[in-house]
């Protein structure tokens, strides 16, 4: 029995690890979307974060520089999106798609010389406690600092949006850019900041994959996680805490697949993989059917271009 319980503890620990990139990217995208900007470039920003984190680790041999650098590269690549959509007023959907396509291509080009180089072990915290406490040990301890940050992030995001003045500004800009602008808020500046923040979080999510989760560089290694993160924001109906829950569900499905494959369970793995997407569609239908509900949750001006006559 104790063996079973410790196995479940390890299982939960691995589910948490697999949900980290989703939490990071979705929390970043959530802030971006709350300001009224739909950035479909999540996958592209993540993959750029993954290669720049890994490359910087190899070049500098310093994991701290690698992590910070991956976030910076996420900021730089999202700046392209920000400049186009905010300063040149381009269509959000098309620009975001271009960003994803561009990012995947560029990362492969930059990563040409890094394929096959082994990664470095990323330090974990409290590894002693992980072994000594059954069940709770592998859940609470022995993780990287990025994981602890990721699990705190939804709560911080929630606090930021609900309790701070800046959070209110972000929500106002997303819900009604025109009235926010009339109140003297610089809508474009707020949106730029939210886009760059989203870029930083997506960059970090990518670096988590290439430095911690599977420490190596593989072309296209984000493997659709950016799209799942996008789905997750909708699945969570733009609420940070639900992002955390959703990420654990989606991450859990991934881990479950591996175990079911090992046991030889009968449900085809592809059906499990498709679940996050199908669940997102169902949630979309449920929240969209009721026009009041969708008004409550969705940033009203999501994806719309804001232009102020000067």
């Amino acid at each position: 029995m104790s063996l079973d319980i410790s196995f479940i503890g390890i299982l939960i620990g691995s589910i948490m690890a697999s949900s980290v990139p989703l939490i990071l990217a979705a929390s970043g995208e959530l802030i971006t979307e709350r300001s009224g900007v739909l950035n479909l470039g999540v996958e592209g920003m993540m993959i750029i974060g993954a290669i720049s984190g890994f490359a910087l680790m190899v070049i500098s041999d310093n994991l701290f520089i690698a992590i910070i650098g991956s976030m910076l590269s996420g900021v730089i690549i999202s700046l392209i999106f920000g400049f186009l959509t905010q300063s040149l007023l381009t269509n959000h959907v098309a620009t975001g798609l271009a960003l994803t396509i561009f990012g995947i291509g560029l990362s492969a080009m930059l990563g040409k010389n890094y394929v096959g180089i082994p990664g470095k072990e990323f330090p974990v915290l409290f590894s002693g406690l992980k072994e000594s406490i059954p069940f709770f040990g592998p859940i609470l301890f022995g993780h990287s600092v990025v994981l602890y940050f990721a699990f705190a992030l939804p709560f911080l995001t929630n606090y930021f949006l609900k309790k701070t003045k800046l959070g209110l500004v972000v929500r106002a800009v997303g819900d009604s850019p025109v009235s926010a602008s009339n109140q003297g808020i610089n809508v474009i500046l707020v949106r730029y900041s939210c886009i760059l923040y989203g870029g930083a979080m997506c960059g970090l999510a990518g670096a988590y994959l290439s430095l911690i989760y599977t420490p190596q560089w593989i072309e296209n290694m984000t493997a659709g996680r950016g799209w799942i993160a996008l789905a997750l924001v909708v699945f969570a109906t733009w609420s940070p805490i639900k992002v955390l829950i959703g990420a654990l569900i989606f991450g859990g499905i991934t881990i479950l697949q591996l175990h079911m494959q090992a046991i030889g369970f009968r449900i085809p793995v592809q059906f499990l993989s498709a679940l996050p997407y199908l669940m997102t569609i169902i949630v979309l239908v449920v929240i969209s059917r009721d026009s009041r509900k969708i008004k409550l949750n969705t940033p009203t001006s999501l994806g719309r271009i804001f232009y102020k006559e000067k």
Binding site: L97, L106, V234, S273
Partner: protein, 359 residues
């Protein structure tokens, strides 16, 4: 001093000229990236854009890749023109290929003139059906079509994966993730001996003619264009919005389904995991670059097809990953969207006199 003014109307000549600016800027941008990566930019660009089409085989390959891009983009132009953001063409392509491929597998050991038309029809219906899902959810449940069509891309790819690994995998295939080979009657006729270009190109050309006719000569086309310009006007004019949404998605899905069937009955000849190098997503770039105009799309599909071919050539000659094609595709769209700024805003360089400054 620079002053920016909003234009009252978009100059048509500029509207069709900016795509060329975007292409030129992309080539320059590509040169700069090659230079940074330590290649001779002129030589690298030559491998990319000239070597691939310097012989007859290369030219046939260009048309082969342009065919699905053109077909899908034509379909998408109906959606985009009417403000419906179907970005799941990749899923509709995949589902069309699954349905068409399923029919082809039924006839795997038979020959007959009727088989290929049946397979093509099944593919179009499959794509159409798959596009109807986001359309119906949008019209009856008010869901966002961008997200639904996108999610379905992954659902369809996983379904294909399941089928080629599981129930449809070739019984004599040593567990490779692929189906049986289709019979010759399920294959698109080749146009020339020794080249891969096949009859599917006529489907693309037919789609171009059809879309030109529908968009510019019919009431439906008029409705689509008005809805795209202003939803309020369309409502005021009494257009049945719901029917139109369903119709544009069906057209778009059918075109994507045809593209999928063209691939599996053309160059591939069976179903496996990788039936499309993201043609469905790249076609969005084609639709934009072609300005949603049927003839513009033909031109744009050739340009974008060249980035696929160039990436393959560069992979061989420069040993760079073939994903680099996507760098060019992304840049084309970036530059195109950016140059659109010139369409809506006038940039004036003013020479202010002193007394004007005082005001």
């Amino acid at each position: 001093m620079i002053k920016i003014e909003k234009r009252n109307d978009v100059p048509m000549a500029l509207y069709f000229f900016t795509p060329f600016i975007a292409i030129i800027l992309t080539i320059l941008g590509g040169g700069i990236i090659f230079y940074i990566l330590g290649f001779n930019p002129i030589e690298a660009l030559k491998f990319y854009f000239i070597t691939p089409i310097s012989n007859l085989y290369g030219f046939s390959e260009l048309l082969l890749k342009a065919t699905p891009l053109c077909l899908i983009a034509i379909g998408l132009s109906f959606c985009f023109k009417s403000n419906n953001w179907n970005i799941g063409a990749e899923g509709q392509l995949t589902f069309g290929a699954i349905v068409g491929g399923g029919v082809a597998l039924l006839f795997y050991n038979q020959e007959g003139f009727y088989i290929l038309p049946l397979v093509i029809l099944a593919g179009a219906i499959g794509g159409m059906f798959f596009a109807l899902i986001p359309a119906i959810l949008k019209t009856y449940f008010n869901t966002n079509e961008i997200l639904v069509s996108l999610m379905l891309v992954y659902v369809s790819k996983l379904l294909l994966d399941y089928l080629v690994v599981g129930p449809w995998s070739n019984p004599e295939g040593f567990n490779f993730p692929e189906t049986r080979q289709f019979s010759d009657s399920s294959r698109m006729p080749l146009l020339f001996e020794g080249l891969r270009i096949h009859a599917g190109i006529f489907l693309a050309l037919a789609a171009v003619m059809m879309s030109w006719f529908v968009l510019y000569k019919t009431y439906l086309g008029f409705q689509i264009k008005v809805s795209g310009l202003s939803l309020k006007t369309a409502k005021y004019a009494g257009f049945k919005g719901k029917t139109m949404i369903l119709v544009v998605f069906m057209i778009s899905g059918a075109c994507a389904g045809l593209a999928g069937v063209g691939e599996i009955t053309g160059p591939i000849g069976q179903l496996h995991r990788m039936i499309s190098p993201d043609y469905g997503f790249t076609a969005i770039i084609v639709a934009f670059l072609g300005r949603l105009n049927p003839f513009g799309i033909i031109f744009a599909s050739l340009v974008v097809a060249l980035t696929y071919l160039g990436a393959e050539t560069a992979q061989i000659f420069l040993q760079i990953p073939k994903y680099t094609g996507q760098v060019f595709q992304g840049m084309i769209l970036f530059f195109l969207l950016a140059s659109d700024y010139l369409l809506f805003f006038k940039v004036k360089i003013l020479n202010l006199k002193k007394n004007e400054l005082r005001h």
